[in-house]
Symmetry: C2
Subunit: 422 residues, 2 copies
């Protein structure tokens, strides 16, 4: 790319540290060649987007008294009735304490809340613990903010308590614990692995964090539940947030992007008040609040029951697509290939026996030749030079991919794997 750039010394420290991730290139490719089947992009299913539902909500809104005010400026925390809906939603999901809408903020997707919390808390050299592998967009945000990102291993049941304990113990010894600002956990159908943190582990994890950290003061936990609504198998699992009975230490964040529509860009957070005050100030200075109109639409979708009907439909759809992808992986990948079976969300994490999946690997080249894309596992691991990371993993997504393309994409990918193995 020949885009001119400013010399680094003229940029802010954050802009100096920011990079264009390779992944951006990867996600742009299918736009340039429609023959490509992307099992890489984390977009949501296109056909099921709630056109009728939003159309009806808009119609209702515009024939109500609220039509005009939805087009006026809102407030920085966002439309109160939607924040009240969220309180009821959390309560119906088993969070027992009374929740105040004053503790909720509506954002431009949950990504904006990740950015805001990071921007408010991180000083250069601060430490952030994340599951390893984790959501690579956020590690980019963290690195640009100057944080040192430290990975803790996870398995199909989420972050491994013993690994967390060990990491925190070693941080305590080195006084690094005082620089530990955030612990970032995707507790449901994690990106990229699809792993879910079990309730038993949540309790252990919270206990360990309490043991080592000054929670709610020096260290906060982010529970990223962006995919939670898309659970298509098993019983619902309580939020980690429900262990934070005083609303002191855990930032719970979620989104209507996956469960309804990413085009409306409505995410939300439930934050401890001593952190929220700073986040709100920052948000006010950045945008005065997100689209009031979109917040009204989501509120109408919830109040009318359209939202929950839509989510029910989506769950059935994603279950079906997940099963199809798992079946295709079993058929197309060689013996010894393994997957984490997701209970929700849109990702399947696959391990290939003795095959390097990296961006510069033969497999990636062979896949590209056959016009199929996946996310190389290496993009999702923290960059910790002294620690060896697996090189045989990949993230496959069934979110946006139509069923016939899951089948055809996995056929092509299976062929690429065979080619490399032969």
């Amino acid at each position: 790319m020949n885009t001119p750039r400013l010399p680094k010394h003229l940029l802010s420290p954050k802009a100096r540290r920011a990079t264009d991730p390779l992944i951006a290139w990867l996600l742009r490719m299918p736009l340039e060649d429609p023959q490509i089947i992307s099992l890489a992009a984390g977009f949501v299913d296109q056909q099921s987007l709630p056109v009728e539902e939003v159309a009806e909500c808009a119609k209702e809104l515009f024939s109500s008294n609220e039509g005009k005010s939805s087009l006026q400026y809102g407030t920085t925390p966002g439309y109160l009735p939607l924040r009240e809906d969220l309180c009821r939603m959390f309560e119906s999901q088993g969070v027992s304490k009374r929740i105040s809408p004053d503790d909720i903020v509506l954002t431009g997707g949950s990504q904006q809340l990740l950015h805001l919390v990071t921007d408010v808390l991180i000083n250069e050299g601060d430490i952030v613990l994340v599951e390893d592998p984790t959501y690579y967009v956020y590690t980019g945000t963290l690195q640009a903010a100057g944080a040192k990102v430290v990975g803790v291993a996870l398995d199909e049941n989420g972050i491994i308590p013993d690994a967390l304990d060990e990491k925190l113990r070693s941080l305590s010894k080195s006084a690094g614990i005082k620089k530990l600002k955030l612990v970032y956990l995707m507790t449901y159908f994690q990106n990229p692995t699809g792993a879910t943190l079990t309730w038993e582990r949540k309790q252990k994890v919270y206990e360990i964090l309490t043991k080592y950290c000054d929670l709610g003061r020096t260290t906060f936990v982010i529970e990223d539940a962006a995919y939670r609504e898309l659970q298509f198998e098993g019983d619902a699992i309580q939020y980690l947030k429900s262990l934070d009975t005083e609303n002191r230490s855990v930032v719970l964040l979620g989104s209507f992007s996956k469960s309804f529509s990413p085009g409306l860009r409505v995410g939300f957070g439930w934050l401890p008040p001593q952190l929220l005050v700073h986040v709100m100030r920052q948000k006010g200075s950045e945008d005065f609040g997100s689209s009031h109109f979109c917040q009204h639409l989501i509120h109408r979708a919830i109040a009318s029951g359209r939202y929950s009907r839509h989510v029910r439909m989506l769950k059935a759809l994603y279950r079906q697509k997940a099963n199809l992808m798992l079946k295709s992986v079993a058929e197309r990948f060689p013996n010894g290939a393994e997957v984490i079976k997701p209970r929700g969300g849109m990702f399947v994490w696959a391990s290939l026996p003795g095959v390097n999946t990296g961006f510069k690997s033969s497999l990636f080249k062979e896949a590209l030749k056959r016009k199929v894309l996946y996310v190389p596992g290496e993009f999702c691991y923290c960059r910790e030079p002294r620690i060896r990371k697996p090189v045989n993993k990949m993230r496959l997504t069934f979110g946006m991919v139509p069923e016939q393309n899951i089948i055809e994409g996995m056929r092509r990918l299976g062929e690429a794997v065979q080619k490399v193995l032969s």
Copy 2:
């Protein structure tokens, strides 16, 4: 307020520097007491919000092929057809060079673009020149970013070239010129004064900037044209941006908030590519792009002609309200009171003879007693301790205020002034 806060040393430098402006309190008051007439809030006229227009655009959108994709993720720069609309709009407004939609970014209001440019460029101690008085929300953003905000006097024709020349000359002597990152100018119906930078002055200002600054490298100019569409008097004046024929030095920013609907939160910027690349990276990391759906609606409003019809109607409405406010000021304020007569926008800047308008002044107290609010001029001047600023100014807005409240609000305010003078 008893909101708990985190101790400063645990916050990022930006969050440490951020403050809650008094103005926030001022703007919240009318929400708490509906008897209050606020001539302070910079909201847009409520009755004229384009409910029918947006309803029709939504209906068309949802019965088109684009309905679904409008609810999917968009791209970080934003919906291409809307960026193309903007290119045509700039061209129709007399910017002669060919404009590429690749140089345009759509944001969550123009405020987000101010934030992004600041976040990308400002290091602690960098200097930003602004008109004095200026848009106080942005000076807050700048101060939180660690910038030193330096004011240059303006009159009814915008920033004063001689004052700019003098300030730049003194910066050149002190080598401060190397730290001059941004020059922020509101060129149309400035907030708070309503002043408009004439074409003659634009040419002089650009010449002076070129003489002293390494434009497009060390120093960028922000031309904030957020109110430009609301011109209700006189001939259109070319953008300062049109002097930047190579698209190297001027960030032009605008918004559909004032001219259509703030609830949709769609702003835009036309940026030099060497700066845009960093802004886009930052925006991608913050929110992946603003609401795709709202961008589709605005595009439909423009393509269908509804947008330009709406703007025509708004101009007539704002002209009428501006005239009413000017008439009320003349009637209610004592001899010697002066105003800058706005040619557009929503603000009237008034000077009272020998009356202190400050937040702690008798006048403000008397006004509050009579349930009428204005923005004390002192909030709008840069905080430069060694420079004396006028204390007898106030910003009045007719934007959101219904006509009968302009009359009644000015009656109350006139009474408060009489009381203080007597």
